[in-house]
Amino acid sequence: MMKKTKILQVAAAALVTIIILVFLEKLLMPKYMTQILEGALISEYYQEKEKDHDVIFVGDCEVYESFSPITLWEKFGITSFIRGSAQQLIWHSYYLLEETLRYEKPEVVVFNVLSMKYDVPQKEAYNRMALDDMPMSITKLKAIRASMMEEEKFITYLFPILRYHSRWSELTSEDLKYWLKRERISHNGYLMRVDTKAVTTIPTKKRLPNYEFSEICYHYLDKMTALCKENDIELVLIKAPSLYPHWYDEWDEQMRAYAEENDLYYINFLDYTDEIGIDYSTDTYDGGLHLNLSGAEKMSEYFGRILTEKYNLRDHREDAELKKIWDGKIAFYNQTIEMQFSELELLGYIKAFNKKKEEG
């Protein structure tokens, strides 16, 4: 009897400790709600009730800034979601895709090939943004193994409190407000920016000692190709029309050759900017690195046409249930546009993207 009581006591204490730690972990983890919004992108997919999309995008900022799923819906009735994150590397993209396929089987997967240039992890922060919000699974474990920088510890991905514990002294009202529930900040993975900063100069292209993409990148690209083929999904390789970082002709040739060899569709949008109608004096918010809302909508209209024609994607706009869901998304989209424009008018900048100005 005594022994039983003791076991119950210890179990109760362990349970209380675990509950406290779970709540503490949630409090200490960065929320990305009012600043560095791109950190919240990965988690948004899991909040989606209806995980059934025609198109899934994977890749870095060039995907989550260049395509608007709302436009794809409004113009073509295509349902899509962007599983993008800041400086998402190819292994992140692969594992995010592998993980997404646990929930749904899209018709088309779009991968932005800029990350082929990186063959080693770049920064812990980008790993965190890509991996922290993935639910625990074998895929996540493999993604962690593939992504970790030398100084990182595996266990800190399993128990993020071990990484973020020192944030206790930097907690802000944002952490308390979004402790248990975060808000939506993206539009099916699209991170909207309505401001404009025209292209004035572009840094000159530096010659590189070697233009060959490394084996590890091809390894993951092969895996992605195989995964899509296994699941009967069309893989589309794209290069978004960002003027910088430079996309070299040598890289482009390698991607063309790869696409041809593997019977994939590859499109470098930099070759079609006139056709798309991109004006780099009005369609970018940072001098040509990323597209703003106007640029993203133009891109989506252009790409939506390709997707519809090439892959015969169905127009779901007549589907009453889906229409109801997407009407809600459109309302939120318009509300964000309105809010960003009013902030621009009032302050001259958008709060969430101007940390320094906001901090004074």
Binding site: V16, I161, W168
Partner: protein
């Protein structure tokens, strides 16, 4: 470690056999041998054992000497060679096994005890190997004795919930000290001591106090973890600290700080040297030539100097540690010499038992130890003394009150954590004076006990200075 274990095992077995042969021979020939014959036989056996002892010491200490002190010897030789503009000797790339000083001393202790006939040698190689390599104490001690540790190390154990609970609590407490206090304050200590050009005067004083906190929390925390792990397995490891910062004199401090090292040096270095025949001869000569009063001190002081020199160099292959050891010795000798003056003073003013005077003694000892410890912190002996000097020549209080404390790598929140942490340490030590805190806790209210443990665990996880930017695996004492 393998060589140390094997050599010690084989040689102690031989020494043991000689003990047995002697005992049997003397027993069998008890009636026939005269006292002189017995004595002569004992001496023959002793001489053989001594040869074996020396051989084993040569191997065990030789490994330690080569691996730990070769480059130190080379750097000193190079300093001499530079004077003569001769070609310098290249340093050697030697890997130092973790805890070599600890397991070597532990092994030597066992060897000497067997030689002295204190106990029989362990016949089971596995058991001896377990004693030498018992993993929790490899990192930073304590230096266990075979007869003490073997009682529980080799005994059969059944699950004991109380031991596990106490052990886990002790581990948690150790991590609290190590991660929340020691590794946090380390940042400020490093900022001050790695930049002696910019941090002088009052900063040296602050660094000195901070280092005392860091060293105490780090070392005692490490020992708590060691004792705790052992306790979980039902093994009793000797305590290594007894509230050292409450000591009223340096001699007392060394009885309460790193206890197992102090007693090791006392039993295996100080006593053997003191009663060695050269020392006895020296004692006789010095008494004759210098008189009884001074002459009797010569062998004691010489033994003390040897012990403190060895203690210093054991702590690290550098002159800083050697001078640190000798400084301790100097202070102890001076305080012994001043004892008659103290007695006169106390006879005159009768302050000895008062709370104020006891507090003064504790503060004095603490500051004295901190001052000597400065030698641990700076890159060389010269810088250490220079920085110590600046405490008296460049003392400017205003430096501290102009936000300089926040330039030491710690934020306000860190200072709050440290302040609370130190208060908890002091309170814990005060509670310890009247008995084992964990046992007291066991008898306290159930909810309070669980609450303390949960708070302690959560504090370690959230407030611990670990992760990227910290290297919490490094304990200060694991370099020794």
């Amino acid at each position: 470690m393998v060589v140390t274990i094997l050599t010690t095992y084989l040689i102690t077995i031989e020494i043991g056999k000689l003990h047995t042969r002697r005992d049997i021979f003397l027993k069998e020939n008890k009636a026939t041998l005269s006292r002189d014959e017995k004595k002569a036989y004992r001496e023959i056996i002793k001489a053989k054992q001594k040869k074996l002892l020396i051989l084993c010491l040569f191997v065990d200490l030789g490994i330690l000497a080569v691996l730990k002190y070769t480059n130190f010897a080379i750097s000193n030789a190079n300093a001499v060679l530079r004077l003569f503009h001769s070609q310098e000797i290249s340093f050697m790339d030697l890997a130092l096994p973790m805890g070599i000083s600890f397991y070597t001393f532990q092994t030597v202790g066992y060897l000497v005890d067997v030689y002295r006939g204190k106990y029989l040698p362990e016949k089971n190689l596995g058991k001896l190997a377990l004693f030498v390599s018992f993993f929790p104490q490899l990192i930073q001690g304590p230096i266990s004795r075979f007869d003490d540790l073997s009682k529980t190390l080799f005994a059969e154990h059944s699950f004991d919930g109380r031991n596990v609970t106490f052990g886990l609590q002790r581990i948690l407490w150790g991590f609290f000290k190590k991660l929340v206090i020691a590794d946090r304050i380390l940042v400020a200590v490093n900022t001050i001591t790695k930049d002696p050009e910019n941090y002088q005067g009052i900063f040296v004083f602050i660094g000195m106090l901070f280092y005392a906190v860091q060293l105490y929390a780090d070392f005692t925390g490490g020992i708590d973890i060691t004792i705790g792990i052992a306790q979980v397995f039902g093994i009793k490891v000797q305590e290594n600290f007894q509230r050292p910062f409450f000591s009223k004199s340096i001699t007392e401090y060394w009885r309460r700080w790193h206890i197992t090292m102090g007693t090791w040096f006392r039993d295996y270095v100080f006593y053997p040297i003191s009663i060695s025949s050269p020392m006895l001869k020296l004692s006789k000569t010095s008494r004759t030539k210098l008189g009884e009063k001074i002459g009797k001190r010569v062998p004691v002081y010489l033994s003390s100097i040897t012990v403190w020199f060895a203690t210093g160099i054991w702590h690290g292959a550098s002159w800083n540690f050697i001078v640190w050891g000798l400084m301790n010795c100097f202070v102890i000798i001076v305080s012994q010499e001043f004892e008659p003056f103290y007695s006169k003073f106390h006879n005159r003013f009768n302050l000895r038992g008062t709370y104020g005077f006891r507090l003064f003694q504790v503060m004095r000892t603490f500051l004295l130890m901190c001052s000597i410890r400065i030698l641990d912190c700076y890159r060389d002996v010269g810088t250490s003394f220079k920085m110590f000097g600046t405490m008296f020549t460049k003392w400017r209080f205003s430096d501290v009150f102009q936000g300089a404390l926040l330039d030491l790598g710690l934020e306000k929140s860190d200072y709050y954590v440290l302040a609370i942490g130190v208060v908890i340490l002091v309170m814990f030590s005060l509670k310890q004076r009247s008995g084992n805190v964990w046992e007291k806790m066991e008898n306290g209210p159930l909810l309070l006990r669980y609450a303390i443990n949960i708070v302690l665990l959560i504090s370690v996880i959230t407030l611990g200075a670990y992760g990227i930017g910290y290297d919490s695996n490094q304990f200060i004492y694991n370099q020794f």
